[in-house]
Structure formats: structure tokens, C-alpha cells
Symmetry: C2
Subunit: 465 residues, 2 copies
């Protein structure tokens, strides 16, 4: 086996973003059916689509078409579409749906999906939905809502398939065959002791492949993770990804089994957490979505821009100290943004790596010192490289070796500071309990702007004037 096979093998359909996107022709046909109010055609077109795809399509429509589609679709509206919708659009759609349609849509859902639906709705809508549920379902949902938001308790489903630890395979299979209300999706049987404390889990595949007389406790999974009901859902998602869990039992404060979390829900949380980090790093409200209105979007983005304005004014105050130098040597005004900009970029690189490593628990007390040293060294090496380049540019452009020297020195200083700030600020913010993804950018840019302008202009005054 050599590397040759990579030459023979066909290319993957790399970056084929449309592999799972809705066909534009289908969307046009759907919009046309709505336009001419052809209910039969609309139902026929939507029927083969997955609720998640219908939800995406609704999000991408304008509000008027969305309302007309939902009214025309009527009774056929599936509860699963609701759970797949973005928060803002979901509230709008719940408001449009006929109460009778809403009631039947919600009754079809699993309890964890109803919880997911309710937690983002306002009180009147919430109460309306709770009212239509049967008593046992309503009680289950209300109980889940008593767990804090973003906790394992909100994420779990309450339907658990469990077995006493002393059962054998045959007993477990007979029990399952005879129960009427097995959850639709389960992958493990949870073994419990007499006090309902989970003691192990048996994969269904293993159960299937074992003889009836085998004891369940002899075929439990090697790795077994129990999740406290109050655990933060981001930590739950981390555990699923780190330990390759498919499902995990959830316990209350007395270690009693109260539910089970499956990997598909953990995957959704992991994806949301990553999305939040990406948006926070860019200074965009993490709840933002493409379907938000202009006013919502403006409101989400304003705070970060306001913080940036303060940062920029601080940098301007530094420049203002050197007005007379700039008046004498205008080349300083031309070159000074370069040093600040390079520092800002190097700082962003270091801080992104740091924020990400903190999120994935790759950056810990045991390697922090080594990583900080690495970032400073990288700043020094890249700083030296760009110092040479900019020194030459400064010399050639303005014909002044002194100016070349000044910009070269300022470049090294600012890139080293950028490395130090980029790694140090997220670590400190994490230590004091502030989300580093949210706040690091402002701090790091302030540092690199102020240091960049000060080092360049300050050195210029010393060397040139």
C-alpha cells in the first residue's frame, strides 16, 4: 500500500453544498401552488419532504408567503416542523396556526420535543399548548420545565427502558416484547439496582447477539457515563463527543434514574455551541439568525460596534499625543495603520486558537505555560519576518532608513504583544468566569491598537525628530 491509490481514486464530491439542499424547482412549484391556492398540489409537493427541510424552507421565505403556505397547508401541518424551526419564526408560525391544528400537531410530539418547543415561547402561547396536552403528558412536560434551562434535565427524554441488574437476556427480551409503550428510539437497556440507581448499560445489538440465559450484567458496555440532571448541556455534548456515547442515563440528586439522553440531541447541542462560539468571536449576538428582522439584527450588532468605537477612540487618543510629529513627518500617518492592523490580525489568530482550545479542554493548567511561551515565540519569529519586509518597504517607499528601522521595531514589538495578549486574555477571562469567546476580541484589539500606534509613533519621535 503506497500513496498511489490517492491518484487512482475518484475525487469526493467535495464541497457539494447542494447535496442535501432543497431543489430550487421544488421550491418554485411550492410557491406557485401557494400563489394559485392549490391545496392538493401543495400537500402532494410537501408530503415527501422531511420536516427539517420544510422548516428550512419556511425560514427562507418571506413572511407573507409563509403565512399563506401555512394557512393553505392547514390540517396537514406536522408537529415536527415546529420543533425544527428557528426560535423567532417558530413563535410567528405558532401564532398563525389554527388552534385546532396546533393542538393536534403538538399531541404527536415526544415529551422532550414539546419541552424544546415550549421553552422558547412566551406565556400565552405556552399555556395554550400545555392546555391541549393529555394530563400525563402535561405533567411530564411541566416536570421537565422545572429543570433549569440548558441543563441535562431539559435535554433528556423521560421514556427509559430499564431492567433490574439480576435479569438475564431472555427476561429482558420478554419484558420488552410485552410492553406496549416502548420508546420509538432507544439503543441501550439501562441496568438499575433496587433503588433505581443505574449500574450499567447493555447495547441492544449485544442483547440481540447473546443467548437467553446470559446475565445482563455480563454483557454491559465497557465505558459507562452517568449524567447528573443539572449538568450544563454543553458539558453533556462534550462528554458524548469525547467518549463516543450513543445514549447515557440521567440521574437526580439521589442518583435515581430519571431519563436518558441520546446522541442526536447531544449532536444538536454541540453544533449550537460551536455556532455560538463562531458568532460571539465575530461580535454577533449568538441568538442571531438569518430570518431576524432589520431591527433585531441592528440591536444584536450595535453593542459590539459600540465597544469597538471606544477601542478605536482610545487608539485615536494615543495618536493625538503625536499630532505635531505627524505634522512634521506625514509618512507616519501613512504607515501607522499597518503596524496596528498586523497586530490586530496576529492577536485574533492567537485568541481564536486559545478560545477554541479552552472550549475543547485542550488548553489546561498543565500546558498553559508552554502554550503562552509558544505564542510569544511565534510572535517574535513572525514579527522579525514582517519587520524585515516592512523595513525594506519603508526604506524604498520613503527613502528613509530610519523610518524603515522604526516600523521594523514597532512590528516586532506589536506581534509579540499580540501573541501574549491573544493567549493571555482568554485564559484570564476564563479564570474569572467571563466567556472568552464573547469578550476577548475587544480586549485584544484594544491592546494591539494602542501598543501598535504607541510603539510606532513613540519610536518615530525618538529616532526621527
Amino acid at each position: 500500500m503506497t500513496d498511489d491509490q490517492t491518484d487512482i481514486a475518484p475525487e469526493p464530491e467535495a464541497g457539494d453544498e447542494d447535496a442535501y439542499a432543497l431543489d430550487p424547482k421544488t421550491i418554485s412549484a411550492i410557491l406557485y401552488a401557494v400563489e394559485v391556492q392549490d391545496r392538493g398540489k401543495l400537500v402532494e409537493l410537501l408530503d415527501p419532504l422531511h420536516p427539517a427541510d420544510i422548516a428550512d424552507m419556511l425560514e427562507q421565505m418571506n413572511a407573507f408567503d409563509r403565512m399563506r403556505l401555512i394557512r393553505l397547508y392547514g390540517e396537514e401541518f406536522d408537529g415536527d416542523i415546529l420543533t425544527e424551526l428557528d426560535e423567532g419564526i417558530r413563535e410567528e408560525v405558532v401564532g398563525i396556526l389554527h388552534p385546532r391544528v396546533l393542538a393536534s400537531a403538538v399531541r404527536e410530539l415526544d415529551s422532550d420535543d414539546v419541552v424544546d418547543l415550549l421553552e422558547d415561547l412566551q406565556d400565552p402561547q405556552r399555556d395554550a399548548i400545555l392546555e391541549v396536552l393529555d394530563d400525563p403528558d402535561r405533567i411530564a412536560v411541566e416536570q421537565s420545565l422545572t429543570y433549569p434551562e440548558y441543563s441535562a434535565g431539559r435535554l433528556m427524554q423521560r421514556e427509559v427502558v430499564m431492567a433490574p441488574e439480576h435479569w438475564n437476556v431472555g427476561e429482558a427480551i420478554d419484558f420488552m416484547r410485552n410492553s406496549d409503550e416502548l420508546s420509538q428510539q432507544f439503543y441501550h437497556v439501562i441496568l438499575v439496582d433496587p433503588r433505581l440507581k443505574p449500574v450499567g448499560k447493555v447495547a441492544l445489538g449485544k442483547l440481540m447477539g447473546s443467548r437467553r440465559e446470559v446475565m445482563l450484567r455480563d454483557i454491559t458496555d465497557e465505558s459507562f457515563h452517568v449524567i447528573p440532571v443539572t449538568r450544563y448541556d454543553g458539558d453533556v455534548a462534550y462528554a458524548f463527543n469525547q467518549y463516543h456515547l450513543i445514549s447515557a442515563p440521567v440521574v437526580d440528586e439521589n442518583d435515581r434514574l430519571v431519563g436518558v439522553i441520546t446522541i442526536d440531541d447531544a449532536m444538536a447541542v454541540l453544533d449550537e455551541e460551536n455556532e455560538e462560539d463562531i458568532l460571539r468571536l465575530a461580535g454577533v449576538g449568538e441568538e442571531s439568525s438569518l430570518s431576524d428582522s432589520v431591527m433585531e439584527t441592528t440591536r444584536q450588532r450595535f453593542p459590539w460596534l459600540a465597544v469597538n468605537l471606544v477601542t478605536a477612540v482610545l487608539a485615536s487618543l494615543v495618536i493625538a499625543q503625536f499630532e505635531s510629529a505627524i505634522a512634521q513627518v506625514t509618512a507616519l500617518a501613512v504607515l501607522m495603520p499597518i503596524v496596528a492592523s498586523m497586530g490586530g490580525n496576529a492577536g485574533t489568530q492567537a485568541l481564536t486558537v486559545a478560545v477554541r482550545a479552552l472550549a475543547t479542554r485542550d488548553l489546561t493548567g498543565s500546558n498553559a505555560v508552554r502554550v503562552i511561551r509558544r505564542e510569544i515565540t511565534v510572535g517574535l519569529v513572525n514579527g522579525a519576518a514582517f519587520a524585515v519586509i516592512m523595513g525594506i518597504v519603508g526604506l524604498v517607499w520613503f527613502g528613509s532608513p530610519e523610518l524603515g528601522l522604526v516600523i521594523a521595531a514597532a512590528m516586532v514589538i506589536n506581534l509579540v504583544v499580540a501573541g501574549l495578549a491573544g493567549i493571555g486574555i482568554p485564559i484570564v477571562l476564563e479564570k474569572v468566569g467571563i466567556d472568552p469567546a464573547l469578550a476577548s476580541g475587544a480586549f485584544v484589539t484594544t491592546v494591539t491598537d494602542v501598543v501598535g500606534f504607541f510603539a510606532f509613533l513613540g519610536l518615530a519621535v525618538i529616532v526621527l525628530l
Copy 2:
């Protein structure tokens, strides 16, 4: 049910990053055992740890301790640790392991894990590992390696539990009970027609809960997705997340079943894709990891800094056109970075939302125009708000209403341009087949810098001089 329960409910252990991190005390004890070469103690300490945690710990150690630990651990080294290691460290560890230990570690692994291990290794190490495999395993691994990198073929496991579509539940259960080599992890039975084309899948839970005489075809899952073997793994991960798949059959170009992908592997890919997007947006090589050396890190970050230097020099060339204006009114030099910086930040906000929405298929042809219009309007509204603020600052600071007017007008222009560039550039890059996460930043910053300086200084020349 009102919002009250949120007051009663306890807070989740929000942001408890250490919920799953390794205990520092354990790490100290492990390092001490390595220091004093106490093999028994080391084995005792590592034994209860999950291979993923051992891998994380190895990544966070320095190279010398890592080598000593692995040598001392010896025969006990588990193959799963290798599959969990970062690429760079993995190569190093494979080099340190005694060939006999490596051989036994690799023989324990599933074929898809061996593939995962081999694809990142260089030829001599690769051949050494292939040699120690048994013939059937080696052939399976070599066959998987013929599929392109990042394809479904590399991600799937070849062990599939399938059944003819005309079987009933009893036949399927008897078949499974009697097969010796059931995969350890499987969650569905794939139904196939006589040509091995998958026609549906039955969840094990459903199989368990059904009577023996029920036909398999009557209890198949409602949604059924078949994945072509050459499909890009990022698209596979998207499908799992979008459609809540737990496992999905993989077919070759003749629609014959060749393997199955399970959600835990899809979750890992989704996480990697998100990580790549985060790192690319920050201009950091997506293959970067905390355990990279200074030279590797410097090399990864240099290209983006070089691009940024070109951008910054372009902006400087714009400033250079206005040197005489700056010499007359040095306040221009003080204020000009503010306009550019605000534009850069607003542009980054818009482009991050756009890149993310393109990745999640939320931004499509059907809503692009509406989203572009929204971004321009948001730029206009935020631009107007910051124009008022900066107009006042300019007036108060420098006592010149004209200067306030100039910076206010430049602010509006640059924030509108930032919104347009932030959304437009990623869409265009995506259209022409360039990864928008990788390249958008440089283009957008160039636009906002150039427009920011030109609008501010140009207007200043017209109004002030």
C-alpha cells in the same frame, strides 16, 4: 405553567468546563509515577481512564515526559489511545511505541479506526502497521483506503447487519443470535433487495418490541437516507444533524450496500468542520493544534498575515494620496483609523453570519436578495447611529462642525459598504468555488479599509480645504 419555575429551579452547572476535565491531582500522580519509573503505579492510575482522556493528557505533556510515559506504560498501551490522538502527536507516538506493542494495539481496533489511523501516517509507518494485520483485516483496510479522503467510504464501517426484505422479526432475531461476528455497535438492521440494494432500515428497539411474525418491511423507520460512498464527509455530517439519523447505509455506484456510518463518527466530522470554519475565519491553518511546534505554528499563520500586510499597504497607498491634507489638518490622522476600524468590525459581523449561513445551507438563492437588502439596511441604521455619536465626538474634541460632518458621513458610507461587502463577498466566493470561510476576511477588510480611508479623507478635502 408560568415563567416562575425558572426562579425556583436551581441554576445549571453552567460553563463548568471542568466537569469532564482530568483532575490535576491525577495528572500530578501520573507524572510522579513516570518520574520515579513506578510501572505498577502508572498502570493503576491509567487503568480507569478513558482512552480519549489519556490521549488528551499525552497531548498536553511535553515531548520528553510523553516519551517516558509511553515507554514505561509498554504493553498496556491501548490501540484506542492512538485513534484519539492529534495527527502530529500520533505520528510521534507511533514512532516511540515498540513495534510489538504497536502491532497488538492495532490488531484490537475496528477496521474504520485503523483506516482513520493510517490515513494521517507517512508511508514507512503505514506499511509497518498494515503488515501486522491479519489478511482479511488488511484487505478491508486497503479497500477503504481506495476511497478518496474525506469521503463517506473512509468514514463507514464495513461490518453491516443486513436482512432480506421478505424476512420477519423472528427470522432476523434468530439470524442475529446465531451469527458469531456481530459488530459491537449497531442500531439498525438494513433491509436489502436480492441485488443488495438497501430498501429500508429497522431500529433494533422496534425489532425488540415487535412479535416474531411481524414482517420487517412493516416496521421500517419512516425516514430513510442512503449515502453514496463518494459523498463528502461534511455533507454526510450535515445529513445526520439535519435528519436526526443514528446510522445510515452507504452504497457504491451500483447502489449496492457496502457499509454503514454511525452518528458518533458523523458527530466527530461535524465538530471538525466547525473547528475548521472557526480557525479559517481567523486566518489560522485549519490543521493547527495546540501541540504544534513553534515552526509549524509560525508557518500556518504567516500566509494570512502576509495577505493582511498587502491589504494594509493598499490602505496606506490611499492615505498617501492625502498626505498634504493631513499635514494641514492633523486631526484627520487622529480620526481616520476610527472609520476604518468600525467598517472592519461591521464587515466581519456580516461576513461571519454569511459564512455560517452558507455552511448550514440557511443562505440560498431563494433568500439571498432579501438577506443582502437586510445587511445594507442594518449598515445604514447602525451607520446613522454611530454617525451621530462620532459627529458629536468630532465636534466636541476638535471644535469643528465640518469635521464632525465629515466623519459622520464617512461612517454611514463605510458601514453600508461593510454590510454589502460582508454578505456579498462570501456569496460570490461560494459561487466561484472558493471556501468563503478561508478568503472572505481578507477581501472584506480590504474593502472597508480602502473605502473607510478614502471616504473620510476625500470628504475632508472637499469640505475642509
